[in-house]
Symmetry: C2
Subunit: 326 residues, 2 copies
């Protein structure tokens, strides 16, 4: 059981993460400095995760780190931004072992390499409460081209990347609330819940094309409602068109009562976006280039409501929609 002073701990364990981040000055200065690029806007997003609220606390620290980083990268992706760097604030109980922090740093390091970002600075403090983690991620977009929730236009087609529902079923599997299913399927679903795949490359490619975009974190229906409300229009979602993995398809067939979770469950971190109808063919081409399914699931309409239709065109009731963190 080794616990070192806060300052030494930061320096030893986190400083290697700042290597390559020219303005981070090996985390020895009061702030990080970095050059801005001409003709690009800056995009900033931040998320906090609390042990016992946003994660259980017994997960491998590497996974906690990667999820924290990735939910922020997903927000950047939803704005069409290219990630640049991030800051990290960690409040740790005094009982936290150096080993935990080292494994946490390993997770950050792995994803830094994968997404081409570095640690620019941060703060490390002690807390009498649970582990509390904040990442603030900074990226950039071509000037004036940031994707927003509010740009959807009547007649736009609504598309979503990847498959939907896997993460929500992964969470149910973790809490023992799913019917029995094969181990391999269970593992895949849990992995989707634990380790989102932020659609950074897709987000960048959608600037100048998509009229509105959001990442699916609250749930497909709730996030579509965010687009509709901020864009002052309505939307129709065709439930049968929502892209499903083999695992989710099997679950929905065997247990139809899971349909609501399949539409309203959160944490997918796919991109939900709208494009003009004549852009849909270009989306098929983009899907091929990115090896990522982009599926048309509905359209933006006049009005103020989000209506969900079944395969026969009948309206489904989804309750309040969306998945709210405890």
């Amino acid at each position: 059981m080794t616990k070192t002073g806060e300052f030494e701990r930061i320096k030893r364990i986190l400083a290697p993460l700042a290597v390559g981040s020219a303005g981070a000055f090996d985390l020895t200065d009061d702030a990080a400095v970095f050059p801005t690029e001409p003709d690009r806007d800056l995009v900033v997003t931040t998320d906090t995760m609390v042990a016992g609220v946003h994660f259980i606390g017994t997960e491998p620290p590497q996974l906690i780190a990667r999820k924290l980083l990735r939910v922020n990268l997903s927000d950047l992706a939803a704005m069409g931004a290219r990630p640049q760097c991030y800051t990290l604030n960690i409040a740790l109980p005094s009982t936290t072992e150096d080993e935990w922090l080292e494994q946490f740093a390993e997770g950050l390091e792995a994803d830094q390499g994968r997404f081409g970002i570095t640690l620019a600075g941060g703060d490390s403090v002690s807390t009498p409460g649970p582990v509390t983690l904040t990442v603030t991620a900074i990226g950039s977009v071509p000037r004036g081209q940031a994707l927003r929730r509010s740009g959807a236009r009547i007649g736009d087609r609504i598309l979503v990347s990847g498959t939907i529902g896997d993460a929500a079923f992964g969470l149910l599997a973790l809490t023992g609330a799913l019917p029995p299913l094969p181990d391999a399927a269970r593992d895949r679903l849990i992995e989707r819940y634990r380790l989102p795949q932020p659609r950074v490359a897709l987000g960048e490619r959608l600037t100048g094309i998509a009229h509105a975009a959001i990442d699916v974190s609250d749930g497909l229906v709730a996030d579509l409602r965010h687009i509709a409300e901020t864009s002052a229009c309505g939307a129709v979602l065709r439930a049968a068109a929502v892209p499903r993995s083999e695992d989710v398809r099997a679950l929905l067939q065997s247990t139809p009562s899971l349909q609501e979770t399949g539409l309203a469950g959160g944490d997918d971190y796919e991109l939900l976006f709208t494009v003009a109808a004549d852009r849909v063919p270009a989306m098929a081409e983009l899907a091929g280039q990115l090896s990522l399914p982009l599926t048309e699931v509905g359209e933006i309409v006049d009005g103020a409501s989000v209506r969900v239709l079944d395969a026969a065109g009948r309206e489904l009731k989804i309750g309040s929609g969306g998945w709210v963190h405890r």
Copy 2:
């Protein structure tokens, strides 16, 4: 006792703080977007404060908010940066009343006006632990001109703004560890502890002039050591030259054992910086323009140690120096 849903709470109480921050989109998007200025570098700093660790928790929420914002602005000042905007992450126990959050927002609003910054975004979560607050502040400096800790050169004069020790004695007064002193003096010292005055205007004026700078948060001696270590040189500090308020001067005269706290105590948030000897006269002029004392307290020397000398030139022992947060 009114407690509203998280989303509504954020929108209602914090959204007004984002007015005027063009890229914050009334906090309805996934991230904030703002234009960068040509020929300026971006400066980012972040600090976390935990109730029971960095503040008691019973302070007026307005004061907690302002201190949090100001310690970040002080870090920007130490880099010579002009503040632009900030993000806010708040983890609150479910018992927190809306009133607390409203008063917290009042404090932010007051200082936003004073320092010309706006809220660009953030995250609000619940926690089973203590109130945990993170501010990430963003500013800018002329390209390549950011002040750093590491630029001090042998022969540089060391200067400090304002007066030193007030905040540390304010903390002692709060905890009942000071000898009896007049109420007015006690109030002034406590105010210095509770509400730092970040030296933003000074920081901006020092770009292109100061060789090294830091804000005095750990304590005068500890922070001078940070400059010396990162600059790979030594320093001499003349204890008798350290600028004192009337209140601190009276305390040090009546109770000489307080001398160590007067040199090593933290939380002053003044700027400690070095300039070439021939720049000292210009500093006197700048002090006049800013109505802020700038006092020469020592010099940068060859070597690797920070030596503190008394009025007779004898070396004082300061122990480990610096004030470490619990």
